[in-house]
Symmetry: C2
């Protein structure tokens, strides 16, 4: 095999405060060759996720990604070589391939993909994003038809799916975003009943107006002041699905915790519960079957936000953290087929 | 019936900041007579609870108790007159009789008591305290034998029962209190495996040492910094039972919320859940049967802290909020029988 140039984005420094391009460094290396039981994966699409920022700061559910490491990230790629790994060349897989053109990975660290519809679906609505929305909403939040479901970062990859699933389930759905333009997308394209802007000076009043019967399930992607406001609108026996804390990732000084915890949790008998999609790995097939059916029959739409080129990945992540994306943000690293 | 003097403690002012005697006023009135379907209850024992303080500040799970009201409180009393209420004179009942010698109450607002052992048990281990511990620990916390259960305000009425129930269930039990003397009681009399002082400068280290395998269930009676410290020691899939917020009741300026919420809730997949014992009213008999058996066979001890005289009720509550009680605090208002 001819030597392959492997463009990659390295972590240059651990951020203190807001993420900037100076925390990354692009370099050209050489793609490795798969050893026994390994595959060589060519990156096609790279998933950009809020959690990427948290990985840089310290240990989360995974080890910290440190200076000198290739930046970590979920990739959808094509197997271009294999060495007794039992995974066919030419097939697509998802894997933690990182921010680079090529990755050598052990077979057990890649998940073969059976393509249904657009390739992008497999990082979005059929990927971790869609499954996170599915299990978080239905298994952790457990909404009943007719209840009010509030979701933050509602124009984001997960939030936009959560809201649609709640709508399909027969709930009143209210989204929180940081802009009127996003809110317009939610109500006009995705069928949200209402959408409000957490940056508005009348946010607390807007929230009350959008949720006249209170909130039964709050799907929290952001933490911080929006969580605090939601706590005040929760109904007795309400549920808060703790999915992410995007308001707190890109800062050296996280905000104080919500001062309604634990007082309102007791008085209103709330359940706040965190989860990670990986905990549901044994039930992915169930979730994927439902998601595929809803995509197929047109009730679930994938909002996509594609950034071209690996070198733009740092800016794509910075922009995601600043809330500029509408829908699932993906970096296109290479063509679907060479 | 001769006119009965009714000594009562009124709310004189809504507290701003720490509770003091100036927020109450004692006065002598005249006991009422029961109208149709009502009973006249003579107070024997008055339960002093942290929640009493919260009731004074604003609406909780009940309406605020306001200046001019008799101070609210749970009473164990003797029925001394009745008017077609179907409740026998001479029987004992519990009721929200308030801080007074006599209360006229509709029959449906009193709960007849079948006395088992000491009368005090019916405000303590067989009362709301014991049931709160029982349902909070087993239904909300769901510990497995061998897991580590941490409980705060562990020498308090609820905490001291929670710890013993967890010990009976086969858990490692660690208590948090504010003094070495209380900790001695927990380990020497109640069978706690360890007890630590949240006022110690080495509290975080002491907590780590007392919970070498982390914390699986934290039964939180206090909120504030102890909750924050516990969040850092929780194991993956740990459960936090939100029972009360005693650290925050007696102040005009509650502390900021725990800054591990929601970040650590997500990363560790924690469940934080609030509850009120009243939600389990249909299952009280089940809880009482278990509690009675454990008291009978000596595995569950009631720690009692009795203050004599209704006029001492304000000081009894102030002292409770300052943490001076060891065990269930009760004010004796009158003799068991006249």
């Amino acid at each position: 095999m001819a030597e392959l140039t492997n463009r990659r984005i390295m972590v240059a420094a651990t951020p203190e405060g807001e993420l900037s391009e100076s925390h990354f460094r692009a370099e050209d290396g050489v793609a490795g060759e798969p050893g026994p039981g390994e595959v060589l994966v060519r990156s096609v699409l790279l998933s950009i996720d809020p959690a990427n920022r948290a990985w840089l700061q310290g240990r989360t559910y995974r080890e910290q990604v440190r200076p000198g490491d290739v930046m970590a990230g979920l990739v959808l790629g094509e197997v271009v070589a294999e060495n007794g790994a039992g995974i066919p060349v030419g097939g697509y897989v998802t894997a933690d391939g990182g921010w680079q053109q090529y990755a050598v990975l052990p077979a057990k660290r890649v998940a073969p993909v059976e393509v249904v519809g657009d390739l992008t679906h497999h990082l979005g609505v059929f990927g971790m994003t869609g499954l996170t929305a599915y299990f978080g909403l239905f298994d952790v939040g457990r909404p009943a038809a007719g209840e009010t479901v509030l979701v933050s970062a509602a124009a984001g990859a997960t939030g936009s799916v959560v809201g649609q699933l709640a709508r399909i389930h027969g709930c009143r759905v209210v989204g929180v975003t940081g802009s009127a333009a996003k809110n317009e997308v939610l109500t006009s394209r995705l069928g949200f009943d209402a959408a409000i802007d957490h940056r508005s000076p009348t946010f607390a009043d807007d929230l009350r107006e959008a949720c006249p019967n209170g909130v039964d399930v709050y799907f929290d992607n952001v933490g911080g002041p929006v969580l605090d406001a939601a706590l005040r609108r929760m109904n007795t026996h309400g549920r808060i699905v703790c999915c992410g804390v995007v308001s707190q990732y890109d800062t050296a000084a996280p905000a104080a915790g919500p001062d309604g915890v634990p007082g309102l949790v007791v008085t209103k008998r709330l359940r706040m519960e965190g989860f990670l999609v990986f905990d549901y790995a044994k039930r992915y097939a169930e979730g994927l079957a439902s998601l595929a059916e809803w995509v197929r029959n047109g009730s679930l739409i994938e909002l996509l936000d594609v950034v071209e080129g690996l070198d733009n990945a740092p800016r794509a992540l910075m922009g995601l953290l600043a809330g500029e994306n509408v829908g699932k943000r993906i970096v296109r690293v290479g063509p679907d087929r060479l």
